[in-house]
Symmetry: C2
Subunit: 189 residues, 2 copies
């Protein structure tokens, strides 16, 4: 008998079904994702064959790795959750970082992530408009092609702001440690 | 078709087979582990039924979470690997921490782990005699009963030193965040 799934695990299932219409699938760095028309997000682990999916990616929400207490308080006071009625647009960004990133100590990673790249501070400027959920993929049971999946939701009026957020993050020192990245643009069906 | 396993994943399989004889299974905090006579460690994911095991625990080695550059250099210069011929004794310690631990920010956890509890510094005093490998269980695909599994190996002559190490770690502030802990004492068959 299989033990129960990690309750923080989510599967991103791309195929021909689901509440999210994939409007565009961009290759940012490295191998692109296969084309699919719809996406759904489910709890637990799902394999591509039994779900008739084109691809399935998994990730688990987890404890925070980089924010300090002040940043955490700001995040908690400003951020809103997923599923808001007006948030009919979504972007899914799976990222794989270079081995050099993972070989660094926590404090070196924090220094690049926040002190030099201001990752959290940049994101704070776009709250509460851009809702965000981060999923970790690196330490799951099965080898996943990406290290993280970030899921963003926002209203159509905030789409330009989202593009500015993304542009700002891709100009940082932290982003030089990305070796594979894809970007899916979706709208709620 | 299932994707390949995470190459850093290990299964601790307790039953009636394996190169390690379980001499003693101590309940330290919370529910005890079921009794078994032997243990083996395999790569990948293994379920209890198909391996005829009494229990199976999983964990993945991963990137470092707390050590700074100086501590990492000291660790790398002093530590030795598992499998040394003279290291015929082993101790397996699965630990689950309280939800309060996981709700803290990284810097709060680091402050308790190292600045106040000196976890890494205490361990350094016992290198290279005590070899150690840490496995993370919290973000796997399936829900695991523990957050970490640490595996220690040492020569019989260093068994007293190991007991002192364990006693020192259990007197720290960090240890107050442990809510379940078991301790298996093993010898190589």
């Amino acid at each position: 008998m299989m033990p129960p799934y990690n309750t923080r695990l989510h599967a991103f299932i791309a195929g021909h079904e689901g509440p999210w219409v994939i409007q565009e699938s961009r290759r940012i760095l490295g191998a692109p994702l296969e084309k699919a028309s719809r996406l759904r997000i489910e709890s637990g682990w799902h394999d591509a064959a039994s779900t008739h999916a084109v691809w399935v990616l998994h990730g688990a929400t987890s404890n925070e790795r980089y924010v300090n207490q002040e940043e955490k308080s700001l995040l908690v006071s400003r951020q809103e959750g997923l599923g808001r009625a007006q948030a009919t647009q979504a972007v899914m960004i799976p990222i794989q970082k270079k081995p050099e990133w993972w070989a660094m100590t926590q404090e070196e990673r924090r220094r690049i992530f926040e002190e030099r790249s201001r990752h959290t501070r940049i994101g704070l400027d776009y709250l509460p408009a851009i809702a965000r959920r981060l999923h970790h993929c690196r330490d799951l049971t099965h080898a996943e092609p990406f290290d993280f999946i970030t899921w963003f939701e926002f209203a159509p009026a905030d789409a330009d702001a989202f593009d500015r957020l993304l542009q700002a993050l891709r100009q940082t020192e932290e982003w030089r440690y990305v070796q594979r990245e894809a970007e899916l643009r979706l709208t709620r069906a």
